[in-house]
Each structure stands twice: as C-alpha cells, then as structure tokens.
C-alpha cells in the first residue's frame, strides 16, 4: 500500500476529484495548507503600510492506494492538477506498513 500526497492549487480540486473518481479512486482526504515556493505571494496594504504575504493557499490531497494502482493514480493526479504555470505544486509517494478501515477493521487492499 502506498500513500500519494499532492500539493495542488485550490481551484483544481474539482478537476482532480473527478479525474480520480474516473480511474476508480473511491476516497481521498484534503487539507487546507499554505505553500512557499517559486510562486510568489502577494502584498496587502493597510493604511499605507505594505505587507508581503509569502505563502499562498494550497490544498493537500492524500490518497491511499494499492501498490499496483499507484502509477495510474499518480499520472491521473498530475495531469488533472496541472495548469502549466508556476505553483502547480508537488506530489510524493510514501510506502505504508499497514492500512485499516476503522469501521470494519479490514486491512490492506480491502480497507480502501
């Protein structure tokens, strides 16, 4: 079992979700995060004082997938999240020792 984590632009979520559903992903978890990277943030001005906001809003998407599906999920995710402009984000894959569904206690592939 693998955990696929991707940092994406928030407005791509709908596309990503639909694309993943299409390739059979039945569950995922998202988190609101802020990213710092090549994409610059923005400035805000309050009563003439300018602030630099370095971090930009991103979403983290996590998908637990069977090892055999990882390639497909990764490809699908990358394609659906891409806009081609700076700040599209990163994706990484971690190995999992163990996965379980809390409701039933099922483990491994059955759990996802």
């Amino acid at each position: 079992m693998k955990l696929i984590t991707a940092i994406i632009k928030p407005h791509k979520l709908a596309d990503v979700k639909d694309a993943l559903q299409d390739v059979g992903v039945t569950g995922l978890t998202i988190t609101e995060v802020r990213g710092f990277g090549r994409q610059r943030g923005h400035t805000e001005v309050y009563r003439g004082t300018e602030y630099q906001v370095d971090f930009v809003p991103k979403l983290r998407i996590e998908v637990v997938a069977d090892t055999k599906d990882v390639d497909l999920v990764v490809r699908t995710l990358i394609e659906s999240a891409r806009t081609g402009s700076i700040g599209d984000g990163k994706l990484w894959v971690t190995d999992l020792d163990y996965v379980s569904r809390i409701r039933t206690g099922e483990v491994g592939s059955d759990a996802i």
């Binding site: 802020r34 610059r40 943030g41 923005h42 400035t43 001005v45 003439g48 300018e50 370095d54 700076i86």
Partner: protein
C-alpha cells in the same frame, strides 16, 4: 417647520443613511469571502461620491423645478423634464438662512433626506455586477448614473416632473424612482458584464449569512426612516407608512419561507432575510397610501412573486449575482402597480374617487405608465453609460483578478485574517510609511526561478 417635524426628519435622514452600511452587510454576506470588501467599498463609495454629486448638480436636476416656482430647466409641451442644474450648483443657492424663516429648515431637510435616497439607489445596483467589476469602472459608472439617471427620474416623479404631475403616478417613497430604476439598471449591468467565471455551474454560496441577516435587520430598521420619513412630517401619514411598512414586511417574510418550505423542502434564513427586503421594497411606493389590509396583500404578493422571480435568472442566463432584479425590480413593480389597487382615499390626499378602501383601474393605468417610462429610460441610459465606461476605463476585471478575488486584486486587502499563521508570522512588513504606487500584480518570483513567471496570488 415645527420642532417635531424637524426632529422626525432629522431622525429619518439618519435612518436612511444607516441603510447604506446595512445594505453593505446584506450584500457583503452574500458574496464569497474573497470579494466581501469590494462590496463594502463600493457602498462606501456611493456614500462618498454621491454626496458630492448630489450637492454639485444632483439636487438641482431633481428638485430645482419646484423650488424655483415651478420653472424647469427643460420642459416639453408643458411637461417638466429636468431641473436646472445650475440652480443650486455646488449647493450655492441652498437657503440655509435663518432669515428665510420656516422654509430654510424644510429645504435643508429635503436636500439631505433626498441625498440619502440618491446614495442608496446606485448602491442597490452593486448586487448585479458583484464579484467581477473593476473598481475604476464602478466609480465612473456610478458617477455617470448618479448624474444622468437617478436625479432625472427623481425629477419626473417627485420634483415636479411629468410622471408625478401630469401622468399622476403615485410613488410614496420610491418604488419607481428607486427600486424599479435600480432594478432595471441591475439587469442591464448583469447582461453587459456577463456572468461570473464558472457561473452557473460552479457553486458560489454566500460566505456569511450571519452578516446578511444583520444587514437585513439594519435595512428593516432604517426603512422606517425611508418610508415614514417620506411623509415629510411627523403626521398621520407617517404613522400609517410606518405601520404598513412593518406589516407588509412581516407578511412577506412569512410568504417567502412558506414558498421555500413547500417548494424546496426547507425554510431558510436567507429566504427570511430576502423576503423581508422584498416586502420592504414592495410597500415602499404604497406605504403612505394604503391601509393595513392593503399592506397585508402587498406583502403576501411580494413574498410569493419575488421568490418565483429570482429563479428566472438561471433560466434566462443572466448572472444577477445578488438578485437585484428579482427583489428590487420585481418587488418595486409589484408595489408600484398595487399602489393603484389598494390606495385608500382617506390617507394623504383623496386620490381614488370615493371608495374608502381600494384603488381604481385608472390609477392602475397611471402607475403602469409611470413604471413603463422609467423602465425604458433607465434601461436605455444605463446601457449607454455601461458601454461608455466599458470602452473607456473598462468594466470587468481580468480573469486572474476575478479568480484571486476583488479584495486582493482591486484593494490589496483581505476581509478577514483569522489564523495566526496568516495574521502573524507569515506576513512581514515591507516598508514603513507610505507603500508607494505598488501593485499586487508584479509577476516576479521571489526565489529567483528563471522559468516563466506569472501572477498567481491565489492559484
């Protein structure tokens, strides 16, 4: 003017001014978080800019005819079309002079009470182009509209112009002048600007119904000044207008949520607040002319019909973002017409023959004629102004600016900074003192990447 009348008109004027921040909250809650300040800002601009325009020429255009012994600047076959813009130019002639005696306070109060109306009318239109208008475009549009549309229509109906004097249409507190006028302008603007990116497929739910309900509460409160103040004195007609305002509004709330309960399965808070505004709009032209029973009827009809009317935009595919057409145009029209049906002789002037309660077909016709003229004029002139603004400074923000939100792209601000990371450690002071003509849109990567660099405050 006696002290009681002055006391009431001062209060009423303050109440109407208070409606503008109320409207700002009402509309502000309905947009997505990234655009809330743009709404508040635009309403404040009406409070600022229209104050200036009104004292320079607006008041003259609207009311100079009456004050100067009935002489209008332009008239057509005896029908007064325009007040003389030079008459009170820059408030010069306004006789706030104690030696003039009684007239002075009355004129001053008319000037300022009507100014508050001139402020809130263009503010109503904001709901139609919310979340996508360029700030500079908004400013120019509102300025032109407040010179060429609002005071003209106000003159026709209230300032001695032909709709009030010759056609004889009744408009107690602005069903035609304000709500039909602003509502039709809203329709034009929604069409000219086009829908928001993603509408109607993508969801754009209100970011804070709490704020909207607060705004509705302030509007309801302020509307007593609007309607009961339109009697011009602390008299029986003011009392009547106050009561009918409360009654129609309460009934409209009930009517709206009943419609929702039946058709959508749930009565909603947003529905209750919207129903209240619909009721307030619809009773506006009628408040001083109809009795309590008439108010019940108007509230009921407004609640039901406006509820149905706001569904039209998805059918006809114009993105009237905050339902100005469905609520203000339709509500105003309902009120304008029903004033002809339910006006009661004994209140105010004896108007409709001898029936104790009830209007007349004739008066209904007058009401319809008045409304129709304003619809045509407002539609045409709003369209022309919109196009002029679009060709010059532009009306719509760039797509990127729309995605980022108007708060950041137009005003370099965020409405709320709730989390510690954003409010504290993440931001850092760039320069003390004045920031200089900075821009949020300089497309430079802050880590020196050599790749293609685009601006992307949100994405």
């Amino acid at each position: 003017m006696d002290t009681g009348n002055i006391a009431w008109m001062l209060t009423a004027s303050a109440l109407v001014l208070f409606m503008s921040p109320g409207l700002a909250m009402f509309y502000g809650g309905l947009v997505r978080q990234k655009n809330v300040l743009s709404i508040l800002m635009q309403v404040f601009m009406c409070m600022g800019m229209v104050t200036l325009i009104w004292l320079v020429v607006g008041y003259s255009i609207a009311f100079a005819g009456v004050a100067t012994d009935g002489e209008a600047a332009f008239s057509l076959g005896g029908w007064s079309i325009l007040g003389d813009p030079a008459h009170y130019f820059f408030a010069r002639g306004l006789p706030l002079d104690p030696t003039v005696g009684d007239l002075a306070a009355h004129e001053g109060l008319t000037f300022v009470f009507q100014m508050m109306f001139a402020i809130i009318t263009p503010a109503l239109i904001i709901g139609a182009f919310a979340e996508r208008i360029k700030f500079s475009g908004f400013m120019l549009f509102t300025a032109l509209w407040s010179i060429f549309v609002y005071p003209v229509v106000a003159h026709w109906v209230w300032g001695g112009g032909f709709i009030g004097s010759e056609i004889g249409a009744l408009d107690f507190a602005g069903g035609t002048v304000i709500h039909i006028n602003a509502g039709i302008a809203a329709l034009v603007m929604a069409i000219v600007l086009g829908p928001r990116r993603g509408w109607p497929k993508r969801a754009m739910p209100p970011h804070s119904i709490v704020l909207t309900v607060l705004g509705a509460g302030i509007l309801w409160f302020g509307w007593f000044g609007f309607n009961a103040g339109s009697a011009g004195s602390a008299n029986l007609q003011a009392v009547n207008a106050f009561i009918t305002t409360q009654v129609a509004t309460g009934i409209a709330v009930l009517a709206w949520i009943t419609m929702e309960w039946i058709r959508d399965g749930h009565p909603t808070t947003l529905g209750a607040a919207t129903g209240a505004v619909a009721g307030l709009v619809a009773i506006t032209p009628a408040a001083g002319f109809v009795g309590i029973q008439g108010a019940v009827a108007i509230g009921l009809i407004a609640g039901v019909v406006c509820y149905l009317a706001i569904q039209l935009k998805t059918r006809f595919r114009y993105d009237d973002s905050l339902d100005v057409v469905g609520v203000h145009f339709v509500g105003g029209l309902i009120g304008a017409l029903l004033t002809g049906v339910f006006a009661v002789q004994v209140l105010g002037e004896p108007i409709l023959g001898d029936a104790a309660v009830g209007g007349s077909l004739e008066q209904l016709g007058r009401q319809a004629a008045g409304a129709a003229i304003v619809i045509v004029y407002s539609f045409a002139f709003t369209f022309v102004i919109a196009k002029v603004v679009d060709w010059t400074v532009g009306l719509r923000v760039a797509e990127d600016d729309e995605v980022v939100g108007l708060d950041l792209s137009q005003h370099s601000e965020s409405g709320y900074i709730y989390d510690e990371a954003e409010g504290g450690a993440v931001t850092s002071l760039v320069g003390g003192g004045s920031a200089g003509p900075a821009s949020t849109t300089t497309g430079e990567a802050n880590l020196g990447d050599s790749g293609g660099v685009t601006r992307s405050a949100e994405d």
